[in-house]
């Protein structure tokens, strides 16, 4: 059983290398496209994620390991997604606070006594 899992066919590493090199060139080319910042950002994130996936699946052999090891590898990604979701309300709250200041000082000028 263990033998069967370890003695898999080695992937063609040069193909992975060329894929990574080409994706890097595409990433740099994408930054020169005169498109909306959000569109470029989305493309860059997708390209970076596919490069990272190639490294993890083939160079780190995750594709040929047991699925449970893949779950261990996925936990930081899941937690980071939660982290980003938890940070989002803070960012919008900052916008509200930045917009708020002009009104409160006017009310403070009338003391109780």
């Amino acid at each position: 059983m263990a033998q069967a899992r370890t003695q898999h066919v080695e992937p063609n590493y040069m193909n992975i290398f060329w894929a990574l090199a080409v994706l890097t060139v595409i990433e740099i080319a994408v930054t020169y496209i005169p498109a909306h910042k959000l569109a470029i950002g989305t493309m860059l994130v997708i390209l970076a994620a596919s490069k990272a996936a190639l490294v993890a699946l083939y160079f780190m052999h995750l594709k040929f390991e047991r699925p449970t090891l893949g779950i261990i590898a996925l936990t930081p990604i899941i937690l980071c997604v939660f982290l980003i979701l938890m940070l989002l309300p803070d960012l919008t709250a900052k916008d509200r606070l930045n917009a708020a200041p002009p009104s409160p000082p006017a009310e403070v000028t009338t003391p109780a006594h």
Partner: protein, 206 residues
């Protein structure tokens, strides 16, 4: 007893079968890398939050040298390839191949560090420090040096780690069945490459 259980329930694996049949060290490295990934994830998420809430964030493309860092990215990808080739040499009992490609991997990491030192020197001469820069939000310099510095420390650690593996493996101790020591070192090295792919995208290109 065990044999009867195996015959009755052939789909159940024996309790001793670990996640990584080759060695426990490999599982240990994966768990360490998962923790380390959360460190980088935290740093990058913090970077994103600070950048999103700073109105005067400089455009990294105009300020940081993209050509040099693109070459550094390429260099780390190359060193990942030499790493897998070195591991392949160790697996197949080819000592010369193992030595040649692990040495090339160490060389790639060292050149990466030298280029990063050159880049940092260049940027500090332009007035960019961890507490301020001439182009905008001071947090730009803070996050840049913390994230690339944390990654650079990992590369330095990887160069030391691989040097130890190479030196203790010169006599052929890690060939064939014992190649999992090289494989575990390789996992760390590929992880450092993987993180740089993300750092390059988020800190330099976005």
């Amino acid at each position: 007893m065990n044999e009867t259980a195996a015959v009755l329930h052939p789909e159940i694996e024996p309790a001793e079968s670990p996640l990584t049949p080759e060695s426990w060290g490999k599982l240990g490295m994966w768990i360490f890398l998962a923790g380390d990934a959360m460190s980088f994830g935290g740093l990058l998420a913090g970077y994103g939050a600070l950048r999103a809430s700073s109105p005067n964030w400089p455009n990294p493309m105009n300020v940081l040298g993209i050509q040099l860092t693109a070459f550094m990215t390429f260099l780390l990808i190359c060193s990942s390839v030499t790493m897998v080739l070195g591991l392949s040499g160790a697996r197949h009992g080819d000592l010369a191949k193992f030595r040649k490609f692990i040495l090339l991997t160490i060389l790639g990491g060292t050149v990466f560090l030298l280029l990063q030192a050159y880049e940092w020197t260049h940027l500090t001469h332009e007035g960019m420090t961890i507490s301020g820069n001439p182009w905008g939000s001071s947090l730009f310099g803070t996050t840049f040096f913390i994230i690339t510095g944390f990654h650079g420390c990992h590369v330095f650690g990887g160069v030391l780690y691989l040097s130890c593996v190479l030196l203790s493996g010169l006599n052929g101790r890690f060939l064939g069945e014992n190649a999992n020591v090289v494989e575990i070192a390789g996992l760390y090295w590929h992880f450092v490459d993987l993180v740089w792919i993300l750092v390059f995208t988020f800190v330099y290109l976005l």
